[in-house]
Amino acid sequence: MKRLLVITLVALFSVGLFGCTAASNSPSTTDETDSSTNKNTNSESDDGEGPTLTYWYWADNSDYSDLMQNIITEFNETNDKGITVVGEEYPWDGGGFMETLFTASVGGGAPDVATFKLTSTPLFTANDLLANLDDYIENWDKKDDIDPNIYDIMKTASGTDSIYLMPWNTQVLYVYYRPSIFEEAGVEVPTTYEEFLTAIEKTTMDTDGDGQTDIYGFGMRGATGGQEPWGSFIHARGGSFDDLTSEASIRGMQDFIDIYENGYVPKTATTDGFNEIIANFKSGHTAMTIHHTGSSADMVETFGDDVSAFPFPAGEGQWTSMGDTENVIFESSEHKDAAFEWVSYLAAEKGQEDWTVATGNVPVSKTVQELDFFQENEFMKASIDGMSYAGIVPIKDTTTEWINTIWPNTIASALLGERSADEAMEILHEGLHEE
């Protein structure tokens, strides 16, 4: 009997305590909400100030952090609608940014606007988290300053006929090479895929005659992220992501394996990621590697004139990966009109120019592309040349897992001779296209 009494009392006490806590929280939350709503209303109407937007973004280094804060400050000072953007920086964290953003928005803590990657679109649209931008873009006076192809890619990403992402900037992959090594190996800048394969072979050299390779022709990326340069090999043989088991796709894969097995790339390629391929190129360990303009300033600082670029050459097909960064407006935002003012400022106005000139990313605004800075820069030129055949890995429910786990592990097994090219492509096709 006493035990029953104890249990009942403990339960009642606990529920009571929980109830008290909840009850004591509720009014204060309401009060806070009310007061903040009142504050907003006051600031928007009585004081003549516009809304305040929360903007989440990532920056690759501290210079870019300062740059973004400066762009925000300039927008806040110059926009005629009294909009105040509050920029909150979060680390990219190898894609962890998108996970944080998703968790926050599902939990009701989404910002008004955030930087975004195409690949995450289905996840966010499936959960109705993003605002539809169709009407905003249709009525935007600078709509035609952005290539229609880019809007189409935004639509493809959402899997609908609607646009949920505001274009911002792109990064088109191209091949970095060392002119001095090319000269030493007696090769010209390749203009065809076959010439590119030959250049990889010829620039693999034993420079001191000790029987060991000192310079590898190509810096292959076998870790996550390597699917982008790999895609260029597949397409160059006439293959495609749509059918990775086709004969042409398998031939592209076989080229990739052959380059590894013949010793034209460092043996660490199975696990080499971004840091490793850049370190290998910068230390003179490789003659060529594939990346975008994000690393061009660093390359020039290291090599001066002894580094240049060419677009990935055409074979039976031609493809290069278009990296991307967009901005999105959240459905939960109470200030969507103001949010569009901000994202359009970044897409085609001063914000676009300031960001792309300083970061070396490829602008989406045609007006900005015409600036001398972009026309005269060899790396930017290689990017712009590649734009006509640039594409993205198909965005499906399976894409993230395919990129993060299936692709690197399957490629490693193929390079290490544990799987043949067609076995590996079978797994990759199934992993990407399974329903």
Binding site: N127, A223, T268, D397, T400, N409, A412, L416
Partner: protein
């Protein structure tokens, strides 16, 4: 004899803490159990539904799952076993009188005090096939003439990662066993000396039996921690190449990060049951000692 008066206040006072524990421990476990019976994949939120045992059936047909189970067993047996052996040896050494013993004891704790991700990144560069200090050292000593791709080939990647976790865990065993060693009465050794016992006899008849409890607890705790450990493997290899370093906890992490929460919850529950079989003796022992 007067019966002890029953006091209700301790139960009332402890109830908020119990409620919090129930909320932060039991609620997630129950939620995970429910998720494991659903195709709870946030990439396809419109298709989430109850699917019974399908996740578990799929798991048993999943080649990568079995690779991860096999790797987990090797990871725990070799990792914890060798940590214990080397930790024991280190504890015996640190228990000796020598100059600078305090400094050596403090320094030997460094691996244990270093964050797992940092250890992973540090060893990743030590093992690097192009610039790694280990290859450089082995080549200068003429032990090898070609660099070994420690983390880039399936034949060496897992053993390289295991060496790292051993390096990290040795101080834990050493410090715990050292504390145990210092609590053994010297009189027992003196008595053994008088009886003419050899060093080995003293080790096996006095030291190890006296440390029985410490060894038991530390091994069980370490088995649980090492099984759940993700940071070192993830920062060194991400589970590759070709899944050769993928343990169950890394596989769960990889699946959870791509938002396949149903499947990863199922695997997490299996891992929890596996660890429970190890943890139950520890919990029972703790309760017995507390009683």
């Amino acid at each position: 004899m007067k019966k002890k008066k029953f006091n209700i206040w301790p139960y009332i006072l402890i109830s908020p803490a119990l409620l919090i524990v129930a909320f932060v421990v039991f609620y997630p476990i129950i939620e995970a159990i429910f998720m494991s019976f659903q195709n709870y994949d946030l990439r396809r939120p419109d298709k989430i539904s109850f699917i019974g045992l399908k996740n578990y059936i799929e798991m048993f047909q999943d080649e990568i799952f079995w690779t991860a189970v096999k790797n987990t067993l090797i990871w725990v047996i070799l990792g914890v076993g060798l940590q214990f052996i080397f930790g024991f040896i280190l504890a015996l050494l640190l228990n000796q009188q020598f100059k600078g013993r305090g400094i050596v004891r403090a320094v030997s704790l460094i691996p244990w005090a270093t964050p797992g991700v940092l250890i992973g990144l540090m060893w990743k560069w030590i093992y690097d096939g192009n610039y790694g200090v280990l290859n450089d050292l082995l080549m200068k000593l003429n032990i090898i003439d070609q660099p070994i791709m420690f983390l880039s080939q399936t034949s060496t990647a897992f053993s390289s990662v295991i060496v790292t976790i051993i390096w990290q865990g040795i101080p834990f065993f050493a410090i715990m066993i050292l504390a145990g060693l210092q609590s053994i009465s010297h009189e027992m050794y003196e008595a053994a000396d008088i009886d003419g016992a050899t060093k080995l006899q003293k080790l096996f008849r006095i030291t190890i039996p006296s440390l029985k409890n410490v060894i038991f607890i530390t091994i069980i705790l370490r088995i649980i921690w090492v099984s759940n450990s993700v940071d070192i493997i993830y920062s060194m290899t991400g589970g590759g190449p070709s899944y050769s370093t993928q343990t169950l906890s890394v596989y769960i992490f990889n699946k959870a990060t791509v938002l396949d929460l149903g499947y990863s919850s199922g695997m997490a529950l299996l891992l929890m049951f596996m660890l429970a079989t190890v943890a139950i003796p520890y919990i029972r022992k703790s309760f017995k000692e507390g009683a």
